[in-house]
Symmetry: C2
Subunit: 388 residues, 2 copies
């Protein structure tokens, strides 16, 4: 694997750049906790664990001229369970808050390297599909002008290999900026400056939902959340204008339930924590919103259905001899990207079938089936009369 085309890291220089000892750096590489990317992008190294202030998902980049760069991982946004106390506690020192929409797609970081844009997933992988997209969705001149900035965005829409949603204003897949940060420090731009800058380069952004006095924010956000919920949208992120305080998130019950509904199609693969965390949110929301019995029953029915109904459907399907899978349509400008994306899924261990179904507007249309063999097998086994 140590091919000659892969530039060797200068260990002393890299260790100094990262603020680590050489021996620590060597150990990280040896244990693949700092892991070199494959394929075209062997000059990227992914942090598979958090290391002395560099969080998991951060990417070390060795540029052509030998210079190093670090693209910090996107920090996890903490969740409010009870909106009003959380806002008053977390933002106690500021008076005005901005609310932006939290869109439901996948989180990517975009930088420029050697004249091309590169899209990293949350874990720090280069996603070939996302990378192709951002190269025609985003204006390269921004990145040339602001070499030190990383653009953070949600890739959302139906043609989405990870989280396919039809509720947004795109028929395909689009990139919505929600943050712009400095590379090595992770320092974010203030919200309004970021929105203005992104807008001036024609970038789409997550919707701006309002600027509220802290005292009225919880009430306003409750109204917003109810509307977003009805539309099948996910929720909001509440931000300090200056971005000195970390933002916090809050989501709609309908979105929790939609998550569960999707997950329980493949009930044998549902993370136990994934289920638990979503049901717990319902209990807090119903209390804070002081719901009467009828409203709480609507919530209970929605929650119960979101678990039972997709699962029952899957059990029935397998009973009829079908296999369970998720299907989305993707489109590729370059057939080479499809090849790279297939290889990417193989490397990640995702069991998938790619089926080229034709061309549309010069783009290659591909049906992607993500197979869920584990749930299919478990269900077959139950139909055969095996015990749980």
């Amino acid at each position: 694997m140590k091919g000659s085309q892969k530039p060797e890291l200068d260990m002393e220089k890299t260790a100094r750049f990262l603020g680590l000892s050489v021996s620590r750096l060597e150990r990280l590489l040896e244990k693949r906790l700092l892991s070199r990317n494959w394929g075209k992008y062997t000059n990227f190294f992914r942090f598979e664990t958090s290391v002395s202030g560099i969080e998991r998902g951060s990417v070390l980049l060795q540029k052509r001229d030998g210079k190093l760069d670090l693209i910090l991982g996107f920090p996890k946004i903490q969740r409010a369970m009870l909106l009003e106390p959380s806002i008053n506690n977390h933002f106690s020192e500021i008076d005005k808050l901005i609310v932006e929409e939290k869109m439901n797609g996948y989180n990517v970081r975009v930088i420029e390297d050697a004249g091309k844009l590169i899209a990293f997933t949350r874990s720090g992988h280069v996603c070939p599909y996302s990378t192709e997209k951002v190269n025609y969705l985003l204006d390269l001149s921004f990145f040339r002008q602001y070499q030190d900035l990383v653009v953070h965005g949600e890739m959302a829409g139906p043609e989405n290999p990870y989280v396919s949603k039809k509720v947004y204003d795109t028929q395909t897949l689009d990139f919505f900026v929600f943050d712009i940060r400095h590379k090595k420090t992770g320092q974010p731009l203030p919200v309004k400056q970021r929105r203005k800058l992104a807008s001036s380069f024609g970038f789409k952004q997550v919707p701006f939902l309002g600027e509220f006095a802290r005292k009225e924010a919880a009430e306003k956000i409750m109204q917003i959340i109810k509307k977003l919920g009805e539309m099948g949208h996910e929720g909001v992120v509440i931000k300090d204008l200056d971005m000195d305080l970390a933002p916090i998130k809050y989501t709609c019950s309908q979105s929790n339930c939609a998550d569960l509904e999707h997950a329980f199609k493949f009930y044998n693969e549902v993370g136990r924590d994934y289920l638990y965390s979503r049901v717990v949110r319902e209990g807090f929301q119903t209390v804070e919103w002081d719901e009467d019995e009828e409203t709480m029953d609507k919530r209970a029915l929605r929650l119960g259905r979101s678990i039972i109904s997709p699962m029952a459907d899957s059990v029935r399907r397998v009973g009829k001899g079908e296999k369970l899978y998720d299907e989305v349509t993707l489109r590729f400008q370059n057939p080479q990207t499809l090849q790279e994306f297939e290889e990417y899924f193989r490397r990640l261990g995702i069991d998938a079938i790619f089926d080229q179904v034709g061309y549309s507007g010069g783009e290659l249309m591909v049906k992607l089936q993500k197979l869920n063999q584990s749930t299919t097998d478990k269900t077959e086994s139950m139909w055969e009369g095996n015990l749980w």
Copy 2:
């Protein structure tokens, strides 16, 4: 801890008796995987892990005369997810099945030692409360006559420190035999022989719900389960008359939901697997029973309520400054037993308050509050505006 009153184990003899090497036995004792009981019962040793065919929860007993005995752990009963295929597959070689009720209490094993009955919990601990009970609920002469037999029963009823249920035919706590097995082999008596024997000594038993041809069993059991569910009972155990094949269990949706309803009062302590396993059962049952939309919605509402409603109640209580706990009334014949039981809870790390509230019929009445500090603390923290 190696007090002189504790009889030392003869290592060679014990190893031979258990079919282990002396060095293995020494290691098990050293790592406390074979763990000596405390208090009055230092002649019992509990297997904290499964060892060469001796399952976790088994108890090694050193009798006064130095002889050894082994009370095997009660084997886990596997669960049917789809009743009809499971019955046909698991019991394929036999034509007739017996269905007994699975009662919802806690599982104890009873033996006689030195003239007294001893009740072991599933994990192999001597429970002082259960031990006192069985000494007046069960006829000692049975155990004198059948030294080689272990009586397995469910202790069920409202005055239950572990699982308090008011749905059974007892105002206090009673012992219902569901199995009688040979000590060292674990070999069970055939169902009818066991029922006859237990009855001849006046033991209460789990209800006998019928003897069915295998082909009709699934349909009959579905009817039984629906009735038991309406009564708030737990479910059934399906058995081979000869007990050559292992029994299997099947439970009511209402019982799954009652479990969740109790658990979600203390939402922060709910095992993730506990939640997951219960919701998954609902998906299979609705498919096998071929429910229409309305019936499935009833199920979904029941499931959703069982999670949201107790949790919302707890969040509200803590919001009002209350602490969360579970409360049951227990009664003790001997104040010494109460002391031992308090010590027992302390040793198990259960945070509880025992409050003597008076006498009734010569028995000491005690209110037991099991505190759930973790959920109380977490909820307080949310009300204070901390993030999840």
